[in-house]
C-alpha cells in the first residue's frame, strides 16, 4: 500500500509493479540487444576490448549502431559521433519525463539520469508514488544491465556461434517488449493518441529526415495528445446542458 505523502499528484497512468518473470523477460530483451550490438561491432572490425569498452562508456546501443552505420557508409568520425548524439536524443527526452518526478540525493539522480533507458523510465513513471517509482526504476535497471552485459560479452566472444538471431525472431523481441511497457498508458485516450501520433510522425519522417530526427520528432505526439484532450474537454464544458427526457 502506498503512503499518500509520497504521491505527487501526477496525471500518469498507473500500472502494477513488474513481477520476477517480467524482470527476467526484460533481462532477456536487453540480452538480445547486447548480442546484436557486440556482433555488429566485431563484424565491423572493432576489437573485443574496444567493443566492451564502448558498451560500458557510451551506454547507448542505438548510438553505437548509428556510429557504425555512418562509418560503414564512408562517413567521417565527426559525422558518426553527431549521428550517435542525435539518435540518443530520445534518452534526453526520457530523462525529462523521469526528472519531472524523480526525487532523491544528487548522486542518485545523476546515476538515474545516466541509466535512463526506454523500459526503466517507461515503467517507472507509471508508478503511483515516488518510492515505488524509484524502486521500480532501479529494479528494472538492474535487470537490463544483467541482460546487457551478458549479451555484450557473449556477443563479442561467441558472436559467430550464436548466428543470425533473426531466424528466431529475436529482432521482434525489443519492439514487442516496448509495446508491453506502454500497454497501460495506451489504454487511456491521451496515451493512445500520444503513441499513435508519435509512431505516425516517426514513420512519416523516416525517409526524409536524418537518423535520430524521426524519433526526436515523435515527441510531438505528446503535444498533439495534450491538445486533443484539452480541445475535447473544452468542447464538453462549453456544450449546452441536455434537457431531461421523460
Amino acid at each position: 500500500m502506498s503512503n499518500p505523502a509520497d504521491t505527487d499528484g501526477s496525471a500518469g497512468a498507473r500500472a502494477p509493479e513488474p513481477r520476477l518473470a517480467d524482470y527476467a523477460t526484460l533481462a532477456f530483451t536487453y540480452f538480445t540487444v547486447g548480442v546484436t550490438v557486440s556482433v555488429a561491432m566485431v563484424d565491423a572490425g572493432v576489437s573485443i576490448p574496444t567493443t566492451l569498452g564502448a558498451a560500458l562508456v557510451v551506454y547507448s546501443a542505438t548510438s553505437e549502431l548509428a556510429f557504425l552505420a555512418v562509418k560503414d557508409g564512408g562517413g567521417s568520425t565527426l559525422i558518426g559521433v553527431l549521428s550517435g548524439w542525435l539518435v540518443a536524443s530520445r534518452f534526453g527526452l526520457l530523462a525529462v519525463s523521469l526528472g519531472a518526478r524523480y526525487r532523491g540525493p544528487l548522486t542518485e539522480r545523476i546515476a538515474a539520469a545516466i541509466n535512463s533507458f526506454d523500459p526503466n523510465v517507461g515503467l517507472a513513471v507509471q508508478q503511483f508514488d515516488r518510492r515505488r517509482l524509484r524502486r521500480v526504476f532501479w529494479q528494472v535497471t538492474a535487470a537490463l544491465m544483467i541482460g546487457w552485459w551478458v549479451g555484450s560479452i557473449l556477443g563479442a566472444f561467441l558472436g559467430d556461434l550464436i548466428g543470425d538471431g533473426r531466424a528466431w525472431g529475436l529482432d521482434a523481441v525489443f519492439p514487442a517488449a516496448l509495446v508491453a511497457i506502454i500497454g497501460s498508458v495506451v489504454r487511456r485516450r491521451d496515451g493512445l493518441t500520444a503513441a499513435l501520433s508519435g509512431a505516425a510522425i516517426c514513420c512519416g519522417l523516416i525517409v526524409v529526415a536524418p537518423g535520430g530526427l524521426p524519433i526526436l520528432a515523435s515527441s510531438l505526439g505528446a503535444v498533439l495528445a495534450l491538445v486533443a484532450v484539452s480541445t475535447s474537454a473544452t468542447a464538453v464544458t462549453s456544450s449546452p446542458p441536455q434537457e431531461p427526457t421523460s
Partner: protein, 101 residues
C-alpha cells in the same frame, strides 16, 4: 572505432540525459500542463522507437515479418498477457512468417 570517438559519444549521450533530468524535467514539473506533457513523452517517444524498429530497413520504410510480430504483440498486450508471453509470441510470429515466406 577510436577511443576519442567513444568518449565523444559518451559525453553527448550522458550530457543529454543529465540536461533532461536536472534542467528540463524539473522545469516541466513546475506547471501542471507541462507535467502532463512530461507524463506522455515516454509513450510518444517509445512508440516512435517501436515504429522505427518494426517498419524500417536501412532508413527506408519496410513491411516484413517484424510487422506480424508487432501485431501479435499488440494483440497479446490488449489481452493483458504477461511481458514474457508478449515477447515470446511476437518472436514466434516473426520467425514463423519468415519460415513460411
Amino acid at each position: 572505432m577510436s577511443w576519442w570517438a567513444i568518449v565523444a559519444l559518451a559525453v553527448g549521450v550522458s550530457g543529454q540525459r543529465l540536461i533532461g533530468m536536472f534542467w528540463a524535467g524539473p522545469l516541466l514539473a513546475r506547471r501542471p500542463l507541462l507535467a502532463r506533457l512530461a507524463d506522455l513523452l515516454p509513450a510518444a517517444v517509445i512508440a516512435g522507437v517501436i515504429a522505427q524498429l518494426a517498419f524500417t530497413t536501412n532508413a527506408q520504410l519496410a513491411l516484413d515479418a517484424r510487422a506480424a510480430g508487432l501485431l501479435a504483440a499488440c494483440v497479446m498486450v490488449w489481452r493483458r498477457a504477461s511481458l514474457f508471453v508478449v515477447v515470446f509470441v511476437a518472436a514466434g510470429a516473426t520467425a514463423l512468417v519468415r519460415l513460411l515466406a
